[in-house]
């Protein structure tokens, strides 16, 4: 087996500090995106309910309307 190579300290510090920075960045971005996504989900739910109710109202209106076409 090839003996393990001695890695230069610059590369070692760069790697592990990049790892640390990545963890911090990921956590920060997640915390930033989470409330935005929840807000969007809430708005979408409200929209869906509104559309559903309008559909029901339209169906009822059609059922109740009188016309000679029936």
């Amino acid at each position: 087996m090839v003996p393990p190579v001695a890695v230069s300290p610059l590369i070692k510090t760069a790697r592990w500090s990049a790892l640390l920075l990545g963890v911090l960045y990921g956590k920060q971005r997640f915390d930033y995106l989470k409330p935005i996504a929840e807000e969007e989900k809430r708005v979408e739910e409200a929209e869906k309910i509104k559309v559903e109710q309008e559909r029901i109202i339209k169906q009822l209106a059609e059922a109740n309307s009188e016309s000679i076409l029936k």
Binding site: K12, G22, Y25, G26, L33, A37
Partner: protein
């Protein structure tokens, strides 16, 4: 269906032991190299790293860039890419998932 599940469940311990015997020597080689190459820098090595970084910057400024061979340049580029990839691995750890943010 139930019989097939039972047979599978009965095979699990032997599968597990086979997996362990397969992975043990490979884990050993991994540790053999990782203990020397992948350890985080000890506090004594950090000033050496800063020194290395300043040498690098000085060599950029003195125009020694034109003197490196293509082979050396490609090797350095690969090392730099590997360091960048550690950042993305850190981001995956920080956001708690591999693909995308789980919001």
């Amino acid at each position: 269906m139930a019989q097939a599940v039972q047979k599978l469940v009965a095979k699990v311990p032997s599968l597990l032991s086979a997996a362990v015997t397969y992975s043990k020597p490979r884990l050993a080689t991994f540790w053999y190299y990782a203990r020397v190459e992948l350890v985080p820098p000890s506090p004594a090595e950090i000033p050496k790293a800063i020194e290395g970084a300043s040498t690098l910057i000085k060599s950029f400024q003195s125009g020694r860039l034109g003197q490196i061979t293509v082979k050396d340049a490609v090797r350095n580029g690969l090392v730099a890419t590997e360091v960048l990839m550690w950042f993305y691995i850190g981001e995956c750890i920080g956001k708690g998932g591999i693909i995308g943010y789980d919001v």
